[in-house]
């Protein structure tokens, strides 16, 4: 035996390291699965994806809509840029407008990126860097964007830090590019806007996968629980803690303290905005008060004893509003401090005492203390608070309404031009005292308080609030809690129905609730599309809007439709940062169906998405720069975005030119990359619609892609025609552009349509294997 061992030692040294010997199928290591070839774009810098941007922007014109004629960013200025004049630094109106779009995108992306860093650091501080990134057993590709952009498979939350650092470096370059006398070309500014958008999307993914992993949020839950939403969900007779903002860290502290001390029955915890989504993802018993528009409205009811703010979408006058009702404010993030005293080094008990003694707010970045401070303060002060509010009593309302001077300033101040004066006049005693107009405003009001600022005699927003009191006091609907990622298995499940023409597309309703005419119509479009078998996704404030309206049987869309990623389903991915999963679903399709390598392969992945995946983002109530950043990211990945009329204030749309055939030429990978004509699909990359009806029609139209199968195109055209008729009462005049084969014309009108098309000289066209890239640029 001895001699054998000696021999075999030698043997080892001699190299019996047989190739493949160590690889047994049973224990495939993660890295071994990462046998993808790598593309050329590892951690792409500000200049590296220009070719792709130029291809995109060569097809889609940047349509500039300046909001200012002058530039006043440096002391040469202000410079007048009208009539083709250039500024003192040599920039023209296009350059300046593109630059402002970039600056706005950078602002939005920075908010998300800063959020991502804070979450990652918080997780590392709380649990250590080795928290495993786990998106559940149905998700093999945990972080598609990290894979594409950073070319790495993050295994732990700690692995995300270098990616955050990369984003920060890029964001610094991008910010630099907005400074005076740097970039001079509008096209290059636009390219940088797309780059900033991509950084934004990557930051979203980092933040969400970190918090899902650390806080055990749903991992692709196809039947995520329903949470209550509405201003009537919390019992104001109990101690009430209201969280505002986007960073869930303080929220986790509140939930932990509540649960650990068994206070679920005694204390009401709720939130507005994305925090509400993320807190319900941890504990569905947290109440969702509503979207951003409910922030001031809810504080003014006097219900909150303590308001906890972290970062983003917090009104600048939140402290003032809290003071009006005696609510204590706890600020937790350096992003929004409001001149409050830093009490990090004090004991929670002392801080509670301070606030009970009358301190109206504290700055408490020690997250672990927030839960105890907020809840114990609320428990101590709530009895004194009962009865306080910042809106008029019902019995004094008539007198206030009657004092209206009918000056019309409120109407002009209102960002949605709501007919406030008309409603006031109808509500006057002398006119019969009909308050229904004020009540109706309640549904449409975005809660900005601009009417209050200009009204010489009252706070019109509070007047409508009291007039609708009987409604919001009992307002309790449901919203599906954020499910997180779209599962690989769900994506596989929809592959066949998409190519067989059973699913016409994916429409994601994302972003803020700055709706031009209330949110009800958004919920209606969501229902309509789900009934038409679209896969409907929601996120952020839009997801709340969807749950805030009921239909027949008193049901919301979340009760009417399942929460899967499937035809005719409506699923909420979660907060703003969960928007990443919508883009990720598209990347997964590329990876799962065509094996397009993700690793460092941005261009090829996006080219695939643009030409093949019939997904559209809708941001009907766009208000924040973050919404622009998300949208610009989506566009770079090849996903078109439709915005509401406020979208033009971001100064740029990306419009296709269906009238120019030369813009719609691609290479056909099945025919040696020869150039072939395609239809204008998707027709636009960034579009602002003036009415909700136009938005719905455009959204379904933008679901078309040049790779659509005939059955797929047929169902897309069927819906396009039907919605066009429903809302415009006529036949779409551009139908001929999208029909490649007569089988694509809806069955019920095939004969008539074909007659018309043939009269116009229509000819059938083949479906190519489309790409804007050349063979040598691709890995597959």
């Amino acid at each position: 035996m001895e001699s054998r061992n000696v021999r075999l030692d030698r043997l080892e040294k001699g190299g019996l390291q047989v190739e493949g010997l160590e690889l047994t199928v049973g224990d495939i290591e993660r890295e071994e699965l990462w046998d993808e070839p790598a593309g050329p774009y590892h951690l792409p810098g500000i200049k590296d994806l220009r070719r792709w941007d130029h291809l995109l922007l060569g097809r889609y014109d940047s349509s500039y809509e300046p909001t200012r004629d002058v530039c006043d960013l440096c002391t040469f200025g202000p410079c007048d840029l009208t009539d083709g004049k250039k500024s003192a630094c040599g920039l023209d109106i296009s350059g300046q407008t593109a630059r402002m779009n970039l600056l706005t995108t950078v602002m939005g992306a920075a908010a998300h990126l800063s959020h991502a860093r804070e979450i990652v650091e918080h997780v590392i501080e709380k649990f250590g860097p080795d928290v495993e990134i786990d998106m559940g057993s149905k998700n093999d590709v945990e972080a598609p964007m990290v894979r594409v952009i950073a070319g790495t498979i993050p295994e732990t939350v700690g692995d995300l830090l270098p990616v955050v650092e990369y984003c920060e470096e890029e964001m610094n370059h991008l910010t630099s590019a907005t400074s005076t006398m740097q970039e001079g070309s509008p096209l290059e500014f636009d390219s940088k806007s797309l780059h900033a958008g991509m950084m934004d999307n990557l930051a979203l993914e980092i933040a969400d996968i970190a918090q899902i992993s650390a806080f055990d949020m749903p991992r692709g839950d196809e039947d995520a629980p329903l949470a209550e939403i509405g201003m009537g969900t919390m019992d104001p007779e109990k101690p009430v803690v209201l969280a505002i903002g986007h960073n869930v860290a303080p929220g986790t502290s509140i939930i932990d303290y509540m649960v650990e001390n068994g206070l679920e029955e005694e204390v009401e915890v709720g939130a507005v905005c994305c925090n509400a989504h993320d807190m319900t993802r941890i504990n569905p018993h947290v109440n969702v008060v509503g979207a951003l528009s409910k922030q001031v409205k809810y504080i003014r009811t006097g219900a909150p004893d303590v308001v906890v703010i972290d970062e983003q979408c917090i009104r600048a006058d939140v402290l003032e509003e809290c003071r009006k009702v005696g609510a204590r404010l706890v600020a937790c993030s350096g992003q929004a401090v409001h001149e409050l005293q830093d009490v990090s080094d004090r004991d929670p008990g002392d801080i509670v005492e301070m606030m009970v003694d009358g301190e109206d707010g504290v700055f408490l970045p020690e997250i672990e203390k927030v839960g105890e401070v907020a809840i114990e303060t609320a428990r101590s002060v709530y009895e004194d608070r009962l009865g306080r509010k910042a809106i008029p009593e019902v019995d004094e309302l008539q007198g206030i309404i009657d004092s209206c001077t009918e000056c019309g300033r409120c109407d002009r101040a209102c960002p949605e031009f709501l007919p406030i004066t008309d409603a006031m006049v109808d509500g006057m005693e002398e006119n019969g005292g009909d308050w229904s107009g004020l009540e109706e405003l309640w549904d449409r009001c975005v809660g900005c308080t601009r009417c209050d600022e200009v009204c010489p005699v009252m706070d019109p927003m509070s007047v409508q609030e009291t007039a609708s009191e009987h409604r919001w006091k009992t307002e309790r609907n449901v919203v599906r809690t954020g499910r997180g990622p779209i599962n690989d298995t769900e994506i596989r499940n929809v592959g066949a129905p998409i190519v067989l023409g059973e699913i016409p597309g994916v429409v994601a309703f994302v972003g803020c609730d700055n709706y031009p005419d209330g949110g009800r119509s958004v919920a209606e479009v969501i229902r309509d599309l789900a009934e038409r078998n679209y896969i409907v996704l929601t996120s952020g404030c839009s997801a709340m809007t969807a749950g805030d309206h009921t239909f027949e049987d008193g049901q919301t869309v979340y009760e009417m439709f399942d929460g899967r990623f499937d035809k005719g389903c409506v699923s909420n991915v979660g907060s703003c940062v969960a928007n990443a999963h919508i883009v990720d679903a598209a990347l997964k399709i590329a990876n799962l169906f065509a094996n397009v390598p993700l690793r460092d392969n941005f261009e090829e992945v996006s080219d695939y998405v643009l030409h093949r995946i019939g997904a559209v983002g809708v941001c009907w109530g766009v208000y924040h720069q973050k919404a622009l950043a998300i949208a610009n990211g989506a566009k770079r990945w090849g996903i078109p975005v439709v915005q509401g009329p406020h979208g033009v204030k971001f100064r740029r749309q990306e419009l296709g030119r269906p009238d120019l055939d030369e813009r719609w030429v691609v290479n056909d990978a099945n025919r040696d990359y020869e150039e072939v004509q395609i239809e204008p699909a998707p027709e636009h990359l960034g579009y602002s619609a003036e009415s909700i009806e136009e938005m719905a029609v455009m959204a379904v139209k933008l679901c078309m892609r040049p790779n659509d199968t005939r059955q797929g195109r047929m169902i897309k055209l069927t819906n396009y025609i039907d919605l066009y008729r429903k809302y415009f009462d006529e036949y779409p005049s551009d139908l001929a552009r999208f029909v490649r084969h007569e089988k694509e014309v809806p069955l019920t009108e095939r004969e008539e349509v074909m007659e018309v098309l043939e009269d116009r000289g229509w000819e059938p066209r083949e479906t190519p294997n489309p790409t804007m890239l050349r063979e040598e640029d691709r890995l597959i």
């Binding site: 349509s63 809509e65 200012r68 019309g408 204030k649 419009l655 003036e690 009415s691 136009e694």
Partner: protein, 156 residues
């Protein structure tokens, strides 16, 4: 619906505000394109038809008034084509906004101001500084009166 003054930009041509008499005259110019949007119902009954008479009409958004149109497209699309000479299939020296929601109209008027030679007129109730001519912020009654006068002028 009252519409707001938008403080973003300086006026193209500081000077007189649009009024009904002036409008009646202007609308008789050849090469006038009307962009009629989804809020056309804000106009008093029976006013739109005589106002747009003789001009080309593009319907935008979900507008469906009883007037003959040359096309339907998004207001963004129409304005984009207007800024690319000859792309809209007509020579339009004058573009008139009717019933276009205020915000998107503001963006489009700014676009036309910077990128097109056409004269832009807004008939809507809120002041639009980026239009060559627009009504000042008017009460509904005053606005309806001005529009009525424009119609009268046209037929005179």
């Amino acid at each position: 619906m009252t519409q707001a003054h938008s403080p973003g930009n300086v006026r193209v041509k500081p000077g007189a505000d649009l009024n009904g008499a002036m409008l009646g005259k202007l609308l008789n110019r050849p090469g006038t394109l009307f962009l009629v949007g989804s809020q056309w119902k804000e106009l008093p009954d029976g006013v739109l038809e005589p106002l747009v008479d003789g001009g080309d009409v593009i319907l935008t958004g979900s507008a469906n008034p009883p007037v003959e149109k040359v096309a339907r497209m998004g207001v963004s699309e129409a304005c984009h084509l207007l800024c690319s000479e000859g792309s809209l299939g007509g020579e339009y020296g004058q573009v008139v906004f009717v019933g276009i929601p205020h915000h998107i109209a503001t963006g489009m008027l700014s676009k036309l101001k910077h990128y097109s030679d056409a004269t832009a007129i807004s008939l809507d109730r809120g002041f639009q500084p980026d239009a060559n001519l627009a009504f000042p912020n008017l009460s509904r009654e005053d606005w309806e009166e001005e529009l009525g006068e424009a119609v009268e002028r046209r037929s005179a």
